[in-house]
């Protein structure tokens, strides 16, 4: 059996499949990045060529940094993403813990109700959300975006985390209760560290749609002071003329922060600190 698994052909085939997929996934990203360092003519003449001495140009980045308030846009995107992520993880994990741990009337119904949000896109409610934000005076604030994204991320978070929390040993939680830990301490000190890999998964799935979203920033917070990076990049896309250098440079820059956040969470995905806690 182990012989079959270590056969070189199987390993070559597996690597070939994975490398093909990686190439397909990375291709658009690489095209964006290499073209962001080229002159306008070079982008159109040979879009797949790497920049050389003649075609190399930082004009895109210069435009982006000079025009508009890109650091502010970055900051807005980061605030919105990190704050939403924090609330999704906190409230999602708490709701999941309650669903997984406590027996109460309507537990299953509540779980189904919370999971319903996975199937219904939040954008269907855009008009009502806008009316709500206008009525509460939250239009053109980052708070509006954070609230909407928190609501958007919660269903999946509750669904995934409650499954994982059911697997945390009852004995461990009961040992904590006998030692006099409060339910909050049991949740934060015993259960959360054990579901850290699941939290990282949820974080990655929640973070990327928020960072990339154009819809809600455009509708709820289009003001200059609250623009996010994806909305900010749109100023270079005109109806008749598009400043491709600037667009590509802005997109390249926009990849960086989310890449860093991803690297932070993916380390958690891999790490197995909990081995040996129980059994």
């Amino acid at each position: 059996m182990s012989k079959a698994r270590h056969s070189p052909w199987r390993s070559v085939a597996a690597h070939a499949a994975l490398i093909t997929y990686t190439a397909i996934a990375l291709f658009p990203v690489i095209v964006i990045i290499i073209n962001s360092f080229k002159t306008r003519q070079a982008i159109f003449r040979s879009p797949l060529a790497f920049p050389d001495e003649k075609s190399f140009s930082l004009i895109g980045y210069q435009t982006v940094l000079a025009q508009g308030d890109f650091f502010l846009y970055f900051q807005n995107s980061l605030i919105v993403t990190v704050a939403s992520l924090f609330f999704v993880l906190l409230f999602g994990a708490m709701a999941a813990f309650a669903l997984a741990e406590y027996r109460f009337r309507g537990n299953t119904l509540m779980g189904l109700y919370l999971a319903l949000g996975i199937m219904i896109p939040i954008r269907l409610g855009t008009v009502a959300i806008l009316q709500l934000m206008v009525a509460s005076g939250l239009v053109n604030t980052l708070t509006a975006l954070i609230l909407v994204y928190t609501a958007q991320g919660l269903p999946l978070a509750v669904f995934i985390l409650s499954e994982f929390m059911k697997q945390v040993s009852d004995d461990l939680k009961n040992a904590g209760r006998i030692d006099g830990l409060s339910e909050y301490r049991i949740f934060f000190r015993l259960v959360l560290p054990l579901v850290r890999p699941a939290m990282a998964t949820v974080a990655v799935f929640t973070m990327i749609p928020i960072w990339n979203d154009l819809w809600f920033p455009l509708i709820l917070a289009p003001a200059e002071s609250t623009k996010t990076i994806t909305l900010g990049a749109q100023i270079f896309l005109g109806q008749f003329v598009t400043n491709w250098n600037a667009v590509l440079a802005a997109l390249s820059l926009a990849i960086l922060p989310v890449l860093i956040l991803y690297l932070i969470f993916s380390r958690q995905l891999i790490r197995g600190i909990t081995a040996g806690a129980v059994k």
């Binding site: 040992a175 030692d179 006099g180 830990l181 015993l190 560290p193 129980v278």
Partner: protein
């Protein structure tokens, strides 16, 4: 200090009744073991005593005080779990001291009590290790240490040896017995293993389907089982049950005779039979016989005996060691 009284404890999950009215008195310093087949409610009963589950009805009294509305941490109990349930982020020392720290005891006292417990269990060199760096036996010792440090009125053990391998199980069993002698504490212990129950307990509570079948000392249960269930549960190999009609006996519906109370002889005896299988265990020889009068029976002979399958043998039960049960399974006096 530590007595326990249970008054008519009932527990239902939805429409399923798991405990059907349990009454029990445990005296101070006693070692009581709950034993029964899986699903008999023994673990649930332990959780009710600990306060981790609320009883549907009935009362739990510790030292004469009703504790039904007292949270687990304030009941003066400590529990050792089958899966050890050590806190993964704390080292052995902090695992043992956490309960006292939560109770707001001074640091010196915690240090002193952890030191005493670790000395008792030989854990001194492992105190700075995390659970992940300990072996199964060491982890279970830390879990027992965590219970000792709390200096509880009641020790609760929930199948503490089930995750250990056979050799370690015997060692840890001896250690628990020693611990009970040294601490003179009241201990309640749940297991499905009758050997653990027979070797450790002052008194055994046999549970079946949410009811108490019999309470007594190990030898009481062995020598005077109250019913068929207890007679079949205690003792290994299991007691032979023979329909009374087959043997032409009256006044009982089933007869029981333990395998060790049967003698065999190649020449003469009560029941003629053919050997189906022989197990040579060194100290014992176990014979499986198909007899004409009594059907399939098991006999346990001490020492080594050279029998082979298809041998013809005569089995004779010891008359005074035959148990009689009526049609409801109760023993006939």
């Amino acid at each position: 200090m530590g007595s326990l009284t249970l008054e008519n404890i009932r527990k239902s999950f939805g429409s399923v009744e798991v405990l059907k009215g349990i009454d029990l008195d445990v005296r101070d310093g006693e070692f009581v073991i709950f034993v029964g087949p899986s699903g008999c409610g023994k673990s649930t009963l332990l959780r009710v005593i600990a306060g981790l589950e609320d009883a549907t009805s009935g009362k739990v009294l510790i030292d004469g005080q009703p504790v039904d509305n007292v949270p687990p941490a304030k009941r003066g109990i400590a529990m050792v779990f089958q899966s050890y349930a050590l806190y993964p982020h704390l080292n052995a020392r902090d695992n043992m001291g956490l309960g006292l720290k939560q109770a707001g005891r001074p640091r010196e006292e915690i240090k002193a009590r952890v030191a005493t417990a670790s000395k008792m269990l030989g854990l001194d060199e492992y105190l700075d290790r995390r659970p992940a760096e300990l072996s199964g036996g060491q982890r279970q010792r830390v879990a027992i240490g965590r219970a000792i440090v709390r200096n509880p009125k009641l020790f609760l053990f929930d199948e503490p040896l089930s995750n250990l391998d056979a050799a370690l199980r015997v060692n840890t069993r001896l250690e628990i017995a020693k611990l009970h002698r040294e601490l003179k504490a009241t201990m309640i212990y749940v297991t499905h293993d009758q050997v653990e129950a027979m070797t450790l307990a002052n008194r055994i509570v046999i549970l079946n389907a949410g009811r108490v079948e019999q309470i007594g000392t190990p030898m009481d249960l062995y020598n005077r089982p109250a019913n068929l269930f207890v007679a079949g549960f205690i003792g290994s190999p299991k007691m032979n049950f023979i329909e009374a009609e087959r043997l032409g006996e009256s006044g009982a519906s089933t007869l029981g005779v333990r395998p060790e109370h049967i003698t065999v002889d190649p020449a003469s005896g009560d029941w003629k039979g053919i050997v189906l299988h022989v197990e040579h265990l060194g100290a014992d020889t176990i014979l499986y016989l198909d007899t004409e009068k009594a059907g399939l029976i098991t006999a346990r002979l001490f020492g080594e005996h050279q029998f082979a399958p298809d041998d013809i043998l005569f089995a004779t039960p010891q008359r005074q060691r035959i148990y009689r049960f009526d049609s409801e399974g109760k023993v006939v006096a």
